[in-house]
Symmetry: C2
Subunit: 360 residues, 2 copies
Amino acid sequence: MLTIRSQSHDYTVEEYPLLGKALTSVTGGKGVFFLIDRAVFRHHVTAFSDNVPEETCILIEASEEQKSFERLPSIFLELLARGLKRDGTLVVIGGGVLQDIGCFIATVLFRGVRWELIPTTLLAQADSCIGSKSSINIGSYKNQIGTFYPPHRVLLVADVLKSLPWDQIRSGLGEVIKLQLIEGGAGFNELMNDLELVTPESGWEVISKWVKRSMAVKKPYIEQDEMDRGIRNILNYGHTFGHAYESATKYAIPHGIAVLLGILTATYLSVRLGLVPFSHYQDLKQRLFPWCCPYGDLLVKADRPNIFDAIRHDKKNTGDAVNCILTKGAGRMEKVKVDFPGDLMPAVEQFIAQEMVKGA
Amino acid sequence: MLTIRSQSHDYTVEEYPLLGKALTSVTGGKGVFFLIDRAVFRHHVTAFSDNVPEETCILIEASEEQKSFERLPSIFLELLARGLKRDGTLVVIGGGVLQDIGCFIATVLFRGVRWELIPTTLLAQADSCIGSKSSINIGSYKNQIGTFYPPHRVLLVADVLKSLPWDQIRSGLGEVIKLQLIEGGAGFNELMNDLELVTPESGWEVISKWVKRSMAVKKPYIEQDEMDRGIRNILNYGHTFGHAYESATKYAIPHGIAVLLGILTATYLSVRLGLVPFSHYQDLKQRLFPWCCPYGDLLVKADRPNIFDAIRHDKKNTGDAVNCILTKGAGRMEKVKVDFPGDLMPAVEQFIAQEMVKGA
């Protein structure tokens, strides 16, 4: 069991072998209601029907459209109509979209209600389930609304990962890899060697091990800088470019894989700015690129103006400068203001044109 | 200048003689946008047009309907479209409704943006402008959604109170009186004597003095218990009944006057429960009742079931018990669980039937 310190309240991460065990361990007392990813519910319908009263379950479509401010009222009203009270508990079960919706609702309903989280994707288990953040879309604006409010407990169920498609596993591994690069120790090599054992059918113990190792890397950053105003920014390594690649390909690239492509871009830019030798980039590309295939092809086909617009409008950019997390080597990431037309644009152009073509 | 400590950030309360001076003192740097009560804007149109670029002003109807979650998207989208950025500032100008809307938006936009508040009603100046809370309606549920996020600065302009209707002044004085009763010192008598100088046309210096005295009483409660989980509950003295009286009369009774009627009810109930002698209630009624007229009449006409439903569904009640702030005398308020059918209902029935009829 891991304990995370937070400005709102400390919280624990606990492991359960099976979903049913986790469901019966929810510590809500009276008035527990569940927000559940519809696909997760379908896949584990027996675990739910055996352990949870049907009338306490609200099923949510886990789509980007659902994660919008305009769609929240129906969920709030459903919870209030079914009888959630200020001393009740909201249990959120799903991946990133469910976490965003559930966290936002738990933050503002009764000015904060107890909530517990059962993350069901590798991305959510290894990365997003700790750190307090929610992000909500409004109109055509992505992730501009949000809150900081961690769950009161995180319940990790390794078993639920077994039903995920391979690309979702790879996507989660993208953030796992990022965290070991940020850590900068021997973990990265150990991880990349371990990952050779992971296939769509096997390697669950390996994944479970790296979920916990990922949290151990992330914990000090979110505890020191929960509101993401300083040192925690480092965790955005690869994200300025990754977000832009996702958006410019209409989310055809899974998030964690876009982050890996973003890490390669940031490292490539770091080389061009003289921060790190080219050999560091080459080594990294050799290790990471196999985990990105075939999504590099989509980058080559993506409209460059869409990519550049997305980078400029990233919510981390204030005014005209573009803030990037660049690298001076493993474990040495830094926030750097990069000149957009002079340095960033040509580096991204060249990265995609020369590094993402097949066989490069 | 007063400084208030808060978990989010400390903030100051500063006095300005005129609205124009306050407007030009906004410390936003680049990207300042104003959310303004439409009626306040109309009344002070010269101060605004002389000091604030028109394209930065968004006018809001200060109604209970506007304070609903479903109506927020258009305001968020207007702010984003006009160019508010995460390093910008939102300036909120108005009474309680504007403060609720502005505070909620500032809490969740970019996960928290700088905001400054110019409260323009006596209720807002003397009470709500400090303490961090926002309350938002959703569907038919009142104030069930909200946040804790204080402004970064409060700018007090005594001059704007001069344009308020007399009932709004009286309403604000309700909370001023409540705070002196909670304080329990000589302030209550001093206040009630001072108030004899206040008429619809005069007494601004007196009011200005008691705005500051009110903040001084409230400050330690909100600093010690910003999230309203303990000692701050005391500030709800009169509110369980006051809210019910407002709701059962469709908000025909101004908030602060309903609070005064609620204080009399809570004290009457305290007498029936043997907490305080009847003479204490009698003294209080003699001092407070003139400030409630003629709204006691509306209570007599109000449907009792509406009043009782509202008390039971007050968001401070968890489960079946009804929590009330009762009194053992001036300065001695306590949270008490009251038996609803056995004690509370007959006390309220009798209070309205015997104490609110004319000449009682």
